[in-house]
Symmetry: C2
Subunit: 332 residues, 2 copies
């Protein structure tokens, strides 16, 4: 099989984006900036209450691999959809970006394709309510060993830990990657997700993970500290390579006792922060997988994140490779 | 039943918007700026070939009634969806704008909800390929007589003429409206649609239609002339009230021997022209139905069209009532 820069495993999700104000979030018990898991009945109630929506393929790791492809990298994705219209949309969009995606959709009668209501407030922040649908039914038998082994980096999302079957798939993918001498990268996904799985995440990070991604809320939740510096110090002790993102403060890359502070890429107007972390990971992973230095990798991350927050939706609208070339971050 | 300013009958469609270049259109036999009807196999082929998409509720008349609601008007819609995810999306979005929509979706096993691939070229022009799906199966028994009779204006799209059953529903709605002493408005929809139904459209316009909407391509196709002035002269002879739109030249309103030339509303950047005509109709119809003079109605049309072409998708992103108040076009 052709070599891939990055192969990701994650929930296959279609985002439904709508606008709301802070009062709407409060009324419906949503914590601003976070992701909550909800069941079919709860997502129906919330959907009925919200305004008109726009549907765009999403899913954290799926957004990342789409970003890698947009940068000119070879990327693959493993994730479960249903045989319904949202499943067709998800499969079409990820293949149309050039990503290798061959996971078979579930048969008729399955749970529907997962969806996420993304409510964007006037400040550009997004608050997410996810109904996973069929997504966690990804069997560990569906983790394509050849595809995993073809990847320089295997990228996994913490969200997979929210359901036992997806967690098994996650572990199987990590096993294959380690056995094939590949790097394993992990995103902590969300501060509440960290809260649900802290002990297992710490164990994984210390034993199996080569590259860790976390934002400030996630990493401080992981180490149960209010101090970012304290959390960064402990991350350094636990990881070989970590990229900690800090929104408008940019990111800090920790590696072998070294810290690289990467400034954010300026953005004229923040329209929707959905996917900022996912696209930062895309730039960073592609940079590392293609042999760039850590600062360049971080700047590719900042650039990809800047593109995604300047419009609605978590998939690039402009070819990231062109943007990166214009900035002199990619020359070939 | 509560009185409505406008009740529309049209195809219930979910738009799938993607970007492409002119070469892609040529390769796939699409005529730039037009709408072509395609079958399930053809839309699948085109979808497979195009890039990633964004799904947004659409449908010409549906866009118009959503615009009327956004201007603060009372609007209703009659149109057929399937019991599938796109049908849920369509129903949610139109109700979420405040439009009365009670047409029952078709049962399981029906054709799917109609969809339209909207390909936007770098110049902002849109080229559409529509698979009508279940939409033309709107039965004339589903044309809610009370809802029609509650409308000051009943708005119908020429596209309904493309299928016999939808055409029957169109005629029944016009009959009810005439009997109830209501106004009937018609959009010619598309120059090729005019070509398919010229004689019937002319007959309708002369006998049943009170307000006609057409763009330059449609009205010149209707009268088979290359001259807009000639087409306008003949429109004036055939209609009581007509609004002819001319893209960046604005619009011309013809009524009782009078012509009102309405300038376009300036737009910083044309992103996507999808829905420009639909939203012009929204502003004009709401203006007329709420008793404004023709110039104000035309300016409301220009304002609504300007909002829609400044972003992707054919449904307003900003509340049109607020924009119109800021311009002094609506005061109450």
């Amino acid at each position: 099989m052709q070599e891939h820069h990055v192969v990701g495993i994650g929930n296959a999700i279609v985002d439904i984006l709508g606008r709301c104000d802070d009062a709407f979030l409060a009324k419906h018990g949503c914590t601003k900036g976070s992701m909550q898991l909800v069941d079919a009945a709860a997502i129906s109630r919330l959907y009925d209450a919200m305004g008109p929506g726009v549907e765009i393929s999403g899913g954290s790791v799926a957004n990342t691999v789409a970003g890698v492809a947009s940068l000119g990298g070879k990327a693959g994705f493993i994730g479960k959809t249903a045989s319904d219209q949202f499943g067709q949309v998800f499969g079409h969009d990820i293949r149309a970006t050039g990503v290798t995606f061959a996971t078979a959709p579930a048969g008729p009668g399955s749970e529907p394709t997962g969806r996420c209501l993304v409510l964007v407030t006037p400040d550009g922040q997004r608050t997410m309510s996810t109904f996973l649908g069929v997504s966690p039914e990804l069997g560990d038998g569906e983790v394509d060993a050849d595809l995993i082994a073809s990847a320089r980096i295997v990228y996994l999302e913490g969200y997979l830990f929210d359901r036992p079957q997806a967690k098994a798939a996650f572990r199987r993918a990590a096993d294959i990657a380690v056995k094939a001498g590949r790097h394993v990268a992990l995103s902590l996904s969300d501060a509440f997700c960290v809260d649900r799985h802290r002990a297992e995440f710490l164990d994984l990070i210390r034993s199996r993970v080569d590259i860790l991604f976390a934002n400030e809320a996630e990493v401080t939740s992981l180490y149960q500290t209010k101090s970012f510096d304290e959390a960064a110090r402990r991350t350094r002790a636990d990881t070989k390579l970590a990229a900690l993102t800090r929104s408008e403060k940019g990111s800090v890359i920790l590696s072998d006792g070294k810290s690289v502070v990467v400034p954010p890429e300026p953005v004229a107007k923040v329209v929707d922060t959905t996917g900022a972390g996912d696209l930062y990971a895309a730039g960073f992973l592609y940079g590392v997988a293609s042999g760039r230095d850590l600062e360049t990798a971080g700047r590719l991350g900042s650039l990809a994140a800047a593109e995604i927050i300047s419009h609605i939706g978590a998939r690039p609208e402009t070819r990231l490779q062109d943007l990166a070339r214009a900035k002199g971050l990619l020359t070939s």
